[in-house]
Amino acid sequence: MNLFIEYSLVGLASGGMYALIALGFVLVFKATGVFNFAQGELMMVGAYVYLAVTQLLGAHWAFGLLATVVVGFALGALVERAVLRPLAGQPTLAIVMATVGLGLILKGTAGLIFGPDQRQLAELLPRKPVFLGDILIPGGVFWTFVVSVSIVSACLAYFRFTRGGVAMRAAASSQANAYAVGINVPMISAATWGLAASTGALAGVLLAALNSLTPHLGDLALAVLAVLIVGGLDSLAGVIVGGLVIGWLQAMTGAYLGGSWREVMPYIVVLLVLLVRPHGLFGRKEIERI
């Protein structure tokens, strides 16, 4: 029983990380209706920016994080302006493939610059294990959970309480009405992309610090598809719940069915949820009669 609780807690803790990764997808999808297959690569780029600033330039880690966030934001906004805006109104296929193409571009570029070797980031979060009662949780996992949940909550608060956040929500719910009340919708969507990319970049740094960094770091992001589908593609609260659910399920399948089931479980969940409740737990149900 103790083992079960320990696995559960570790699973839930890693779910926080999934929530943070998924946040970037949800922000973009909510505001612009685009599912960004390049989100994982934006994470990877963020981690390399952090690596370059802290290790190659030898700067302080706080400065590295700042650079990561700023570069992430700029990259996200640039991508929106240069690729997604000209494709507005195109069929899903074009938009999906454009983001896939962007991902390949980022991955290829990172590979050309940094090579395929594994890199190790400096310790960012304390590694000392945390004890809850007599249950041990690895320090990296615990603190990553804390940081992830704080970032997601900060985003939630931003959307709820600030002027910019309300403008983003307005643009997401109806572009025409947002225009009508004088919101600069194109700027909002560029800013949303920027925000999503910078949260992604932070997620990338955390993820790379937990494991290691290669140009293929972004491939991990596809595993959070399940989080998104369970929570609903356009729900911020769903991200947290979905992250925790999937994190817990992964820990359980990993513990009781073996490591390979752990990898495939999210995709099975995706198919099941799509069949039963395509909009997820918290997503907005689109009215489609056919």
Binding site: A98, G101, E263, Y267, P278
Partner: protein, 359 residues
């Protein structure tokens, strides 16, 4: 030659005047096209005799890719159902064919269609959710199916051989074995040609038109009396059948079937070929496949030229350069030439039709 006569010769599909019902019904309706196709057929027959082994190998590879990409185009380009898991159906076809050939001793002419049919069945299964979900959600479902497929073949070792895969025998004709690329060419290319003709004719039939109607506006299609579920499933089945045949041919061509060949990357590769070639165009699928098979080869030459002969270094470099180039191709074509190479061809033809005047 009078001007009108030359217009007629130079203007495929442009300035063709059907004078009888038979004329109007002709599939290939102008002399230039007929001449072009005859020349192409002659070139395909002559190619293996004049080209070196490398070209023959590449030609087989292109032909297999064409089959698979035409299938994906039927589903994604013509029916408008985005699939990010097409390579999984290549894999289903390849493994079904491989198991049939190695374990049950099927001859190749039975094993290849068997691969296609099993893939078609798998396609219907994956297509079932398409009535409830569409667009992005369907794409995600096919993506999930892709990963689940990989998991199944990697872990169902008693049948698929796991990560080691299956070793394929050479196709046996009785009097000879097709054990070289030169011989396999005569199996692969005719199949590819036949399947391209089938696909381009399909869109002159009720079924093919129904696909296009579903793509354009699904509820209007239903109002017109098109059974949506049946049409979508037919499209999935056909596309997967094409993919399965391509996979089975791949199995015989590479002489080995293993899960690595049928991953997410291969699916994206085929989608790229569809986009580069042109959505909803069989000609586009052919051009796109040719282009996408040729690009990495040219890139290889370029990388060897730049990085020198250091094999390991250039292999590493090449993998990244390939990703970058594919990405640039996808984004570039979507932004600048969204209808792909087929549209370029159409424009050139339109220009030629009125040459030397400007259109």
């Amino acid at each position: 030659m009078s001007l009108s006569k030359s217009l007629h010769l130079l203007g495929p599909r442009f300035g063709v005047l059907p004078l009888s019902h038979a004329d109007a019904e002709r599939r290939i309706d102008d002399p230039l096209r007929r001449a072009g196709l005859a020349a192409l057929a002659a070139a395909l027959v002559l190619l293996p005799f004049v080209a070196n082994a490398y070209i023959v190998y590449m030609a087989c590879l292109v032909a297999i890719t064409v089959i698979s990409v035409v299938g994906l185009n039927i589903l994604t380009g013509y029916t408008g159902l985005l699939s990010i898991g097409h390579a999984a159906f290549n894999g289903v076809g390849a493994f079904a064919c491989g198991v049939a050939a190695t374990r049950w001793g099927f001859p190749f002419w039975l094993a290849i269609p068997f691969g296609g049919l099993v893939a078609a069945a798998a396609g219907i299964l994956v297509g079932l959710p398409s009535l409830r979900i569409k667009g992005l959600y369907l794409a995600i479902a096919t993506l999930a199916a892709q990963f689940i497929f990989l998991f199944v073949v990697q872990h169902w070792e008693s049948v698929t051989g796991g990560d080691r895969g299956l070793q394929m025998p050479s196709p046996d004709l009785g009097f000879t074995r097709l054990d070289s690329d030169f011989k396999l060419y005569w199996l692969i290319v005719p199949v590819a040609v036949a399947m391209c003709f089938f696909a381009s004719n399909l869109f002159r039939t009720r079924i093919g038109r129904a696909f296009v109607a579903v793509r354009e506006r699904d509820y209007s299609a239903e109002v017109l009396g098109i059974d949506l579920l049946r049409t979508k499933l037919t499209s999935f089945a056909l596309a997967s059948f094409y993919a399965g045949i391509a996979g089975a041919l791949m199995a015989y061509f590479f002489r080995v079937v293993n899960p690595e060949q049928y991953g997410f990357g291969a699916s994206i590769f085929q989608l790229t070929a569809v986009i580069v070639g042109g959505l909803g165009s069989v000609l586009g699928s052919i051009l796109g496949s040719l282009f996408m098979v040729a690009v990495p080869e040219l890139l290889k030459e370029a990388v060897v030229f730049v990085a020198g002969a250091d094999a390991t270094k250039s292999a590493v470099f090449l993998a990244s350069a390939r990703e970058l180039v594919f990405g640039v191709l996808i984004v570039g074509f979507l932004l600048l030439e969204p209808f792909g190479l087929a549209e370029v061809v159409r424009r050139v033809r339109a220009r030629l039709a009125v040459w030397p005047f400007r259109s």
